[in-house]
């Protein structure tokens, strides 16, 4: 009788352990994204133009530089920040200035961000400035999209492709 109780107890233990392992291996389900929403993801990796032009070094300056380091022109490495704006249905939902990466500020600026919107029809407009000017934008694009629930609209910027790309 005692043995029967022991074996039964062990069976119950294993059953409970299996249930705990099995249940939490795939449950409870987690809702990561609302069912009636779509997502606009905007991303770019782009370097703004250099802050200043190159300057010819004087003969005296060249003399002061080690021979193996001498270059006739002194070109600043710093880049200007990249300014972007995103409008959805005429309202600006994102406006930011992205600094260049790198210790010397000479790398590309990066952006990767998602903007949930209700599923449905939307007008999306994007603008980007990568030059030293104070106002206005160097690249703009606008599009009208009908986004299904859970759909992803990717807004990428590729200078080599001529600017913004929309991918539905």
């Amino acid at each position: 009788m005692a043995n029967l109780l022991k074996w039964t107890g062990q069976a119950v233990f294993y059953a409970v352990l299996a249930a705990v392992i099995g249940y939490f291996a795939a449950a409870p389900a987690y809702r990561h994204f609302a069912a009636d929403q779509a997502l606009i993801k905007m991303t770019f990796t782009h370097g703004g133009e250099y802050k200043g032009g190159c300057r010819r070094r004087t003969a005296k300056e060249l003399q002061e530089i080690a021979p193996n380091m001498r270059k006739d022109f002194d070109c600043p490495r710093d880049r200007v920040p990249v300014v972007v704006e995103l409008d959805v249905d005429g309202a600006t939902v994102y406006r930011a200035s992205h600094d260049p990466s790198g210790l010397h500020g000479d790398g590309p600026a990066n952006m990767y961000q998602g903007f949930p919107v209700p599923a449905g029809e939307h007008t999306v407009a994007v603008r980007l400035r990568d030059t030293a000017r104070d106002s206005g934008f160097d690249y703009t694009r606008e599009g009208r999209f009908t986004l299904a629930p859970g759909q992803l609209l990717v807004v990428q910027f590729r200078a080599e492709a001529g600017g913004f790309i929309f991918r539905e």
Partner: protein, 526 residues
């Protein structure tokens, strides 16, 4: 930290008590948590090797190969997949319980800091293994994990461009990505194995395999679970959509929802704080350690028994330094010694049978010496009164009898393994008590790892120093149990005392003066 340890320990005391009764002490899963983790590792490794035969690295091939295994070859590859998943989950579960138990028992501070702190990289690597595993299936859960993981990693200023951008469109991903992931998924467990080896470096005779019966039970449970609830995939990944609902594996992916509520930086900060806190827990606050064992060369003949018995490899043999005729002497490493006294119990010089001069042995604990033990034994025996007197030598970490006084007296040792068998002989032959009860932690759950095991072997004359044959075995009883079993210990003492009353008083047999230098060595009497 005691305020937190106390309830944890109490919970484990109760759980161990119940499982001792259901499984027996030897099969109690809570006594083999580390070994069960290892056992699950081998299940994961074996099933993983089989799955690798059929797994195809490719954007569409990965998913279809997993589907083939799950549906077409469900009877073998599908079961292997389920075993792979559930054994991985069980590893996390056993690891967490293992940590909680060691914390509750206060077995993570002092000398044990090394084993505890090297467990932290194991946690990290285990999660790397699990997360990359889910990534390989390339279903919607994998997509969720991939996007969330890379968005989280991108917070660190180590990537030139956002790596999450690789998962924006189907075209941005290529087959080589899966080759990289499978490389990480295979390399991480191998590194994990290396860290596990380091984790056990300061533990002598580490138990890395559970008892066979428990292993069979666990494997049968895993197999049954795999057949009843086979692991399945979500729909295939589709990078043009946002994953909405996922059936998370909460063992490995439980932190991912946090990323929806906290910024990536906050999650990094929280995780770093938690891991560093766990890693440096042994110093919050540091353990006040008892003085470590000390070798007395005049009484050490280099017999190596203390080296064999030390649970933490704190004693080693070195060339003799005192010019004695023996080749080697014992040397204690204070950084490894937990002051359990098991070496004192192992030393053949540890005997209370001396009438002249102070009791000195080959290796002793300064804070509770052999002389202290004899004094405590004699003092406890003096308090005994009536028929069926029982002197209990008990471990400080084991159960305590609910009733003392009268026919029962208790001598507390740091570990029952500290008790030289000659003390049993001494107690009975001098008529200090009618019976000796040895009490300590449950089997396979000794606080200092081998106290009960070595004591059993010494009493059963299977390990030196052995209990002399002349000691009447019917007057010696052993009781190994969890801390919560104080009442059971009292009942056992009562039953023992009843038996002793029927036997009558122990024959007092003071040794003649010529025997005062008897050492409890390997004897050949009988």
């Amino acid at each position: 930290m005691t305020w937190l340890q106390r309830p944890v320990r109490a919970a484990f005391d109760i759980a161990e008590l119940g499982l001792d009764r259901v499984f027996s002490q030897h099969w109690n899963p809570l006594h083999h948590l580390g070994a069960l983790g290892f056992f699950m590792y081998w299940i994961v490794a074996a099933s993983g090797i089989y799955l690798y035969i059929f797994f195809d690295t490719g954007i569409t091939a990965a998913y279809s190969s997993v589907e083939y295994m799950t549906n077409d070859q469900w009877y073998l590859a599908g079961v292997m997949r389920s075993l792979h998943r559930y054994a991985s989950d069980a590893m996390v579960l056993f690891m967490v319980i293992h940590m909680a138990r060691e914390f509750g028992l206060d077995r993570y501070r002092g000398v044990r800091w090394f084993t505890w702190s090297t467990g932290v990289p194991i946690i990290v690597l285990l999660f790397v293994c699990g997360i990359t595993g889910y990534w390989l299936v390339w279903d919607q859960l994998a997509q969720f994990v991939a996007v969330r993981s890379t968005e989280w990693l991108d917070w660190l200023p180590i990537f030139g461009t956002p790596t999450a951008a690789n998962f924006l469109t189907p075209e941005s991903l290529d087959d080589r990505f899966f080759s990289l992931m499978i490389f990480i998924h295979i390399a991480a467990p191998l590194i994990l194995l290396l860290i596990l080896w380091i984790h056990l470096q300061r533990v002598s005779r580490p138990q890395i395999n559970p008892p066979r019966g428990l292993a069979v039970g666990m494997f049968a449970m895993m197999l049954a679970l795999s057949l009843v609830m086979p692991a399945t995939s979500h729909a295939p990944a589709d990078l043009s959509t946002v994953v909405s609902v996922v059936r998370l594996d909460w063992y490995y992916l439980g932190l991912y929802p946090l990323m929806d509520y906290w910024s990536a930086g906050t999650v990094w900060a929280a995780l770093t704080v938690v891991l560093l806190t766990v890693m440096f827990l042994p110093w919050m606050p540091p353990m006040r350690r008892a003085a470590t064992a000390r070798v007395y060369l005049d009484h050490c003949n280099g017999c190596v028994r203390c080296v064999d018995d030390c649970p933490f490899g704190a004693v080693s043999m070195v060339p003799r330094t005192d010019g004695a005729k023996f080749a080697e002497e014992a040397l204690v490493d204070p950084d490894l010694c937990v002051s359990c006294g098991i070496c004192v119990g192992a030393c053949p010089s540890s005997t209370p049978f001396r009438r002249r001069g102070e009791i000195v042995t080959g290796i002793d604990l300064p804070d509770f010496s052999l002389a202290d033990l004899r004094a405590a034994t004699e003092a406890a025996a003096e308090a005994l009164d009536g028929e069926g007197r029982v002197l209990v030598f008990g471990c400080a970490h084991g159960p305590r009898p609910s009733k003392k006084g009268g026919t029962t007296a208790f001598v507390t040792l740091p570990c029952i393994g500290m008790l030289p068998p000659s003390f049993i002989d001494y107690t009975l032959s001098r008529g200090l008590a009618d019976g000796v009860m040895l009490s300590g932690c449950a089997e396979d759950a000794c606080y200092h790892r081998f106290g009960a095991e070595w004591t059993d072997a010494r009493v059963d004359r299977q390990r030196d120093p052995q209990l002399r044959r002349r000691v009447p075995r019917e007057r010696v009883r052993r009781h190994w149990a969890g801390r919560a079993e104080g009442k059971a210990l009292s009942a056992e003492i009562e039953r023992f005392a009843d038996g002793l009353r029927q036997l009558g008083p122990a024959a007092s047999d003071p040794l003649p003066p010529s025997s005062e230098r008897i050492l409890e060595t390997v004897e050949s009497d009988g």
